[in-house]
Structures are given as structure tokens and as C-alpha cells.
Symmetry: C2
Subunit: 303 residues, 2 copies
């Protein structure tokens, strides 16, 4: 998809055209585009133009605050370029290139940590698309000779599990089974699941894991069956002290009431689509971060 | 849908054309049709013909054994007619009429028991289509002036929640919210759910509740949030002592891999679709049966 304005990029992010590491990179590229379009403006007008683009891009997804944090860093790079009177778009894309290199190095580090948590013979449950570090963890465990089998819930209504996660694992040649979002606990009761791994869109200072809706119910079921739950994350968000400070994105209920435009229920029925849920630290065995696998309470918060 | 042979009725039951009290009544009507078609056969040939029809109809749904139990009773009525040399189809439809009257009286009794479990202000979670007695319980609680709100998971992949349960409740004028199968635990954490009600396709002698896949994960989440779980049921199945004796129907994985014929994943990816799961008695607050709301361990089994 080609987007020729900040507004089009923002709409694409809202429509979830890209997942995982996609949205924040698309947002930073949109900021660079705004910088380029501001090249003939004076300094204060250019700054105003960038601020407006930044605000629109931050508003796309209220729950995952990593996008906002990275846009803020890109803005700092742009402001330095403004003062130095060098091109804004080049400053932002240079910042993006450096950050991307660092982040892909982090993916590899966290992938290794995740692979070492996996044991030979493990059945592994995931939810939604657990990011590059999870896929890398599977690839590394498989390369280490560990026989694994991955179980992927489809992740209604956007079907990231069916459309993205299961095909990614299948491409690696690792055995993978797709199922509904209502089937994992039955597999746990049959002893088929030994580990549960997800990404985390946000981790609060007191260790709550915010991730795609459905993560929480599997975390409860995992605890009931003594299956450890690990979440891959960049780190915590210092601006989110606890669950009360988290904004859960409420998406358009029509995504529940229709499938590719075909209605699945009576048109007058009310529906809800909270895109994320919150798992408390007591259900989390560890957060896989670049410095190691950390218990959420080690973050220094209380729960 | 009109079916002019036992085989067509069996296929319609397999394709889940009818739900709740529909399948067993359709199966008994098919047995009556077999009896009518056998009217010119001699006694042993007619019995053979009926036995064949009975076996085909029992094979339609291996998990819910109520259909098999009722077909057996209808067969006994047919065998008495065979000996008395009276028309088989009339004997079977007469048995059906009497049994239906009795069962609808039971629905009303169980509806009343369910309504009395509901408190003013309750948020009520259900799963799949929890049968006539659940809908009656809601209608009676509402008529008693209790303000309630019902939350209905869509029930992938067949979407009974979206297509049948939510519209049924909406028709009664009771507030209802449709959602994905991955969203109930988030609502529980927000304090929006006070009761969890489902049907039961089968109850084992030792008190395990077998019901539509997804029932179990909500039962685990309900216990985690101190929400009581009640299942509406006819009674236990004396031929199923424990969970090991239950056959879980594994349906066609294409129902997960496609939506109305549209693929949702890579064609080579393996999928599973277990149609039911098993909730242990320790997670069940009570079984709503015609004689009262009974704790599963009172069935006399051990767990």
C-alpha cells in the first residue's frame, strides 16, 4: 500500500495494514514525509507542521505507546536538524535507520533468550502475532534440534493468527496447528501445551502485560494448567504506572458483526471489540527483554 | 430444509442445520420416516431397516448422547408397535409428541430455577446456544423486573452466538452485547459479569460438563474472577462414567480455515476443530436440572 500523505499513513495504521514492528516504522516514515513537505516553511511553521503530524500519528493506536515514544525520539532528531538548518526528512530517516539496526539486534538477542526457554518436545501456544523475536525464538530452537509444535489461535476478528503467525511458522518448516480462540484450554487439559509465548504491546511499571485481546484468558488457563507464560517486550513504559493508566483501544464493533462485509448477526445487535486486554503480573512467569528474562515484580512496582 | 430420506436428515444434523432441541427431534422424525417406508416389509426386515436408520442417526454427533438415548426410547415404542402389528411411524410420532410435551414442561421448570439464580443488575455470560431453558430463564428474570445484560461470545467457527443466541435475546427486548470468543475474561476483570450460564451436551456420572468448545476456558476465567458457573442439563449420562469415556467430535478443519468459502489462511496449514470441551466439576457451581440446582458431586461420582 502506497500512502502519499500523513493522513493516509495514519488511516493505514488504524486499519491494521501492518503489524508488529510495522506501525511505528510507518509512522516515523510519515513524519519524515511531513518534514520533507515542510522544507519551504520557516522554522516555527515547520515545527508546527511536524507537531500536527506527530499528534495525528500518535492518535492511531492508543494502547501501544511504543509508537508514541519512538515518534518523540524522531521529533527530537528533527528539532536538532531544524536548529542546524539541515533537511528534516534526512534527519528523521537517518534516526530511523540507526534505530532499526539496534532494534533488529535486540530481536536477535530476545530470540536467543526465548529459544533457550523452549525445551525439546514442547507444545507452544501463542496469540495474535508475537513479533519477530518470537518467530526467531522458534527458528533458533528448531535449529538447535528441539522438536516443537506450535498452536496458533486464529485471533478474531482480524485473524492475525490465521493470516500472519501460522503462515510465518509454516514457512520455517516448523509444525504448526491453527485453531479457534476458544480451543487452547482443551489442549492444555490434554497435556499438549508446555509453554505460552506472546508479545506485549505495553508493560506497565507494576508489571501488567497489555496485549491483543485473548492473551489474558489464555494466561489464566495456562496458570490453571501450570503452563508458564512469557511475553516478549522492549521494556516497560515509564508513563504507565499501573492498569488504571492504560487506555484500551475500542475498535469498530462492525468488525465483530461482519466478515469481509457479510453480516454474521442481526444488524440491530450491539457488539464490542476491545482490541487489547491486561494480564496481571501474578500470571506472568517472565518478560523476555534484551537484558534477560525478568520477573515482572523485578521492575520495582508492587502488585 | 426438507429432507426426504434418513441419510438427508443425518447429513443436515451433521451440518448443524438445527441446534438445541432440534437434532434429537429431527432424528426421531427420521426414524418415523424409516418406519413408514418399512410398512410393506415383514417384521424382521422392518426391524432391520429401523436399526440401520438408528445407527446412521446416532453416528451424526458422537459427543451429545441424548440423541442416542432418545432414539433408543423411540425404538422401544416402535418395537412394541411391531409386535402389536400397528403402524410404526404413528407409534414413533406419538412417542415424540408425548416426549416433547414433557420436555417443554421441563424447560419451563429449569427456566424458573435459572431465573431464580439471576439477581437484579447481573451481567450474564453465556456460550454458544444455551438451549430454551436459558432463554426462558432470561425472559422470566426480565419479567420479574430484574435488570440484566447478557454478553454473548460469537462461538467460532459456526457462530451460534452471533446467529442464534444474540438475536434470540434481542427479540425478547433484553440488552445483549455480542463479542469475540477471546473477550469475556477482560469483561470479568472489569466486574461486568456476575453469572456464567451454558447448556451441557453431556454430563458424566462424576460431574464433568461437556459442552461447546470454549465453555471450559470461560469456566476457568469465571473461577479466577469468582463468577459462578451454572449449566442447564437434562441429567447425567449413566453410560459415561468419567471424562475418559467421552468422545469429543472432531469436525472438519476447513470450517476453521475458511469463512463462507473464503480462505483465511495458507491452504497447507493444518487446523483442528474439536467441537466440544470438558469442564471438571470443581469449576461448576451447579447443574440446573428439573429437580433443582445440583452440585455435580451430588451425582454420586468422585473427582
Amino acid at each position: 500500500m502506497t500512502c502519499k500523505s500523513v493522513e493516509k499513513v495514519a488511516q493505514a495504521i488504524e486499519q491494521m495494514v501492518t503489524q508488529g514492528a510495522g506501525p511505528w516504522q510507518a509512522a516515523v516514515c510519515a513524519l519524515a514525509m511531513a518534514g520533507y513537505k515542510a522544507r519551504h516553511l520557516d522554522q516555527s511553521e515547520a515545527k508546527e507542521h511536524l507537531k500536527k503530524a506527530q499528534a495525528r500519528l500518535i492518535a492511531t493506536r492508543p494502547t501501544n505507546t511504543a509508537l508514541a515514544q519512538r515518534l518523540e525520539l524522531a521529533m527530537q532528531a528533527a528539532e536538532m536538524a531544524l536548529e542546524a538548518e539541515t533537511p528534516l526528512d534526512q534527519a528523521i530517516t537517518q534516526w530511523l535507520g540507526e534505530t532499526r539496526r539496534q532494534i533488529y539486534a535486540d530481536y536477535a538477542t530476545r530470540g536467543r533468550l526465548g529459544a533457550d526457554l523452549i525445551e525439546d518436545g514442547d507444545g507452544i501456544l501463542t496469540m495474535c502475532f508475537a513479533e519477530t523475536s518470537f518467530i526467531l525464538a522458534l527458528a533458533m530452537a528448531w535449529a538447535d534440534g528441539k522438536k516443537i509444535h506450535v498452536y496458533v489461535p486464529e485471533t478474531r476478528p482480524f485473524l492475525q493468527g490465521a493470516k500472519l503467525t501460522a503462515p510465518s511458522i509454516h514457512e520455517l518448516g516448523i509444525p504448526v496447528t491453527l485453531m479457534g480462540d476458544n480451543m487452547a484450554s482443551g489442549l492444555m487439559a490434554q497435556g499438549k501445551i508446555q509453554k505460552y509465548f506472546t508479545a506485549a504491546d505495553l508493560i506497565t511499571v507494576d508489571g501488567h502485560v497489555v496485549n491483543k485481546v485473548g492473551t489474558y484468558q489464555h494466561a489464566i488457563a495456562a496458570r490453571y494448567h501450570n503452563v508458564p507464560f512469557y511475553a516478549f517486550a522492549w521494556g516497560l513504559d515509564p508513563t504507565r504506572p499501573d492498569r488504571a493508566s492504560v487506555e484500551i483501544e475500542m475498535r469498530n464493533p462492525d468488525e465483530i458483526k461482519t466478515f469481509k462485509g457479510t453480516p454474521v448477526t442481526h444488524p440491530n445487535i450491539e457488539a464490542i471489540y476491545p482490541a487489547f486486554d491486561i494480564t496481571p503480573p501474578e500470571l506472568v512467569s517472565g518478560i523476555v527483554m534484551k537484558n534477560g528474562v525478568v520477573r515482572p515484580e523485578k521492575f520495582g512496582g508492587s502488585y
